[in-house]
């Protein structure tokens, strides 16, 4: 077992064991939320961390999938699984169209155009009341499963989320080290050179966009199944900003960063609010503190901290913590 994936396996295993130690399904459900948010953040990280394309409209991917699966499995009369496949297919098809517009730009233009695309879908969800239910959304989304896989039970649903999360980590972990992953970072740092040595920069970015869309769709599917309802709020600008904050706070371009960032935001939002009234303020202060102490995010920051601490030891200890990628 490679030492690099060991910590991830440990974290996933610890998350999977929450149902065994927790007396209340609340913590199980909270862990599911962390997992779902982490899948989305991992998807966005492909764009933000590796392609250098900062999106303020990521929520469009989970949003589209969630609405599609909700509509197909309630009004449309499909079973949950075929509905899910159609929803993901539909999201990917729509994402291809979005790419034609969004990938014409980079930098701030990309930030805005992704926000605009998301706002348009949000507007459609909000305005097209007869299909989407308007601001009331669609409720009664059924979860799949049955006697073998009782996904209506929190622990089983958590395990499903963790399986998807593990898949995302594995696929993206491999991708980031693959020739295309290296090339993607090349297009981020020197698009001109990449083009001059024979790479099709647009197509590489397109692959990144579709990867982000795919994992976003997976997160959206789980979101719809988890909450069993969808509403336009999940595509508001603040929802997209929240995912971006997860990625940046955890450490853009790292594999563990989005996971840490997702856990931080979800737990702050939902656990801290139990004890603190002004949790929005707490969230804001947390971001400011992170940025001042660790401008590149938590994972690179802690990587640097451990490297710094290690200098004070006479002999290097066996590497329990592998060096994190800090190429974000």
């Amino acid at each position: 077992m490679s030492p690099r994936i060991l910590p991830f396996i440990m974290v996933l295993a610890a998350m999977a064991m929450v149902p065994l130690v927790s007396t209340s399904p609340f913590y199980v459900n909270l862990t599911s939320q962390v997992a779902i948010a982490a899948i989305g953040a991992l998807g966005l990280n492909v764009l933000v961390g590796h392609a250098g394309l900062n999106s303020l409209g990521f929520a469009v991917f989970p949003g589209l999938t969630a609405y599609l699966v909700a509509w197909l499995s309630t009004v449309g009369g499909f079973d949950p699984v075929p509905a899910a496949l159609l929803a993901i297919g539909g999201t990917l098809a729509a994402s291809m169209l979005f790419a034609l517009v969004a990938l014409r730009t980079t930098g701030l233009g990309f930030v805005m155009i992704t926000m605009a695309l998301c706002q348009i879908v949000w507007g459609a969800a909000y305005r097209w009341t007869s299909v989407t239910g308007g601001d009331n959304g669609l409720s009664g989304v059924p979860r799949p499963g049955g006697a073998v896989l009782p996904l209506e039970r929190p622990e089983w649903f958590l395990w499903l989320c963790l399986c998807v999360l593990a898949l995302a980590l594995l696929q993206l972990g491999r991708f980031f080290d693959s020739p295309l992953g290296v090339a993607l970072r090349g297009t981020r740092d020197q698009p001109r050179r990449m083009s001059a040595v024979g790479y099709d920069v647009w197509r590489i970015r397109f692959v990144a966009w579709m990867l982000a869309a795919g994992w976003g769709a997976a997160a959206g599917l789980l979101y719809a199944w988890y909450h069993q309802f969808v509403s336009p709020h999940m595509m508001a600008v603040t929802a997209s900003a929240e995912v971006l904050l997860m990625v940046v706070a955890g450490g853009a371009g790292t594999l563990a960063g989005p996971l840490i960032g997702a856990a931080l935001v979800v737990l702050l939002k939902n656990l801290a609010s139990i004890w603190i009234d002004r949790w929005m303020m707490l969230l804001g202060v947390t971001f400011v503190v992170i940025v001042l102490l660790m401008p590149d995010g938590i994972v690179p920051g802690l990587g640097r901290l451990t490297a710094w601490l290690r200098r004070f030891r006479p002999a290097p200890a066996p590497a329990l913590v592998p060096r994190e990628r800090t190429d974000g």
């Binding site: 933000v48 900062n54 517009v101 014409r104 730009t105 980079t106 930098g107 701030l108 233009g109 930030v111 805005m112 155009i113 926000m115 605009a116 695309l117 706002q119 348009i120 949000w122 507007g123 459609a124 909000y126 305005r127 600008v237 603040t238 900003a241 971006l244 904050l245 940046v248 706070a249 853009a252 002004r278 929005m280 303020m281 969230l283 804001g284 202060v285 947390t286 971001f287 400011v288 992170i290 940025v291 001042l292 401008p295 590149d296």
Partner: protein, 286 residues
């Protein structure tokens, strides 16, 4: 006819307000490459401060001036103490300014409560005037004039003064500006103060139209971003054209095609960005 007159005036008033909000954002972005996502929150802070001054018994004009100064100073402090450390690093800046926006918004909610509040226009500007067949609020005419005055003032500042020359030089090339003796540090702080002061002023000027309420920042920030993107980041003329373009598109779009009310602002923006990714007056950024 009355319809076109009054809707055009509405568009001009909204465009003027947006210009006050977006010009500061654009100046800051052009000079420092900082997308200040706390700009909407500073606009709201200005509105709340202005309201507090009015409630303390001072007039509207004192409120406008003091809110502009206070928010400007606050912006300067933020730049000196926090933003300065993150020069040139986009993602940390996003995290920081969004975090600040959260803090400011929640602090306003704590201090002033969630009740929406009215910021009355000064008595000499309340009431409506008749223009042809159309009836139009006097205060909105003032907003149209005031924003035009601010635009003119900014233009004179940037194009006709020594400070403006420095700003222009630094926008083109910070290194070069330093070489010819511009103190970039002072200039950055000054421009950040100016930009945030404009946001604070805009908050008070906009108060009588928009009223003052907790999510004012979230409602205004996307509009400011749209203006800047449409017009081109870092360009004063771009912010000017963009603000009035958005004012007209928003006003007439909602009236003429109500079914597209939610997307009316984004469709033209996508069209513009597809053709000119830097916006109408933007320069290509590194």
């Amino acid at each position: 006819m009355a319809f076109w007159i009054s809707q055009s005036l509405n568009a001009l008033a909204l465009g003027g307000l947006l210009f006050m909000l977006a010009s500061g954002f654009s100046l800051i972005f052009g000079l420092m490459r900082v997308a200040n996502l706390a700009h909407g929150a500073l606009f709201m802070l200005g509105a709340y401060l202005g309201l507090a001054v009015v409630k303390a018994g001072f007039g509207f004009w004192v409120a406008a001036a003091s809110a502009a100064v206070a928010v400007g100073l606050f912006g300067g402090v933020l730049e000196r103490t926090l933003l300065r450390r993150l020069a040139g690093r986009t993602l940390p800046q996003v995290l920081l300014t969004l975090g600040l926006a959260f803090i400011i918004a929640d602090a306003c909610l704590m201090l002033w409560g969630g009740d929406p509040m009215r910021l009355p226009p000064p008595p000499e500007l309340s009431g409506a005037v008749r223009i042809g067949d159309a009836v139009f609020p006097r205060y909105r005419l003032f907003v149209i004039g005031a924003s035009a005055a601010v635009a003119l003032g900014l233009w004179l500042l940037v194009e006709r003064t020594r400070a403006g020359a420095m700003i222009r030089a630094a926008v083109d090339d910070v290194g070069m500006a330093r070489a010819i003796g511009v103190s970039a540090s002072t200039l950055f702080t000054a421009v950040f103060c100016l930009g945030t002061a404009l946001a604070g002023l805009g908050g008070v000027i906009g108060g009588p139209i928009l009223s003052v309420y907790p999510t004012l920042d979230q409602d205004m920030l996307p509009l400011a971003l749209l203006v800047v993107i449409l017009g081109g980041a870092g360009s004063l003329i771009g912010a000017f054209v963009g603000a009035y373009a958005i004012g007209f598109i928003y006003t007439f779009g909602q009236v003429l095609v109500p079914d597209l009310a939610y997307v009316i602002l984004f469709l033209p923006m996508i069209a513009v960005l597809s053709v000119a990714p830097q916006g109408l007056f933007g320069r290509r950024l590194g």
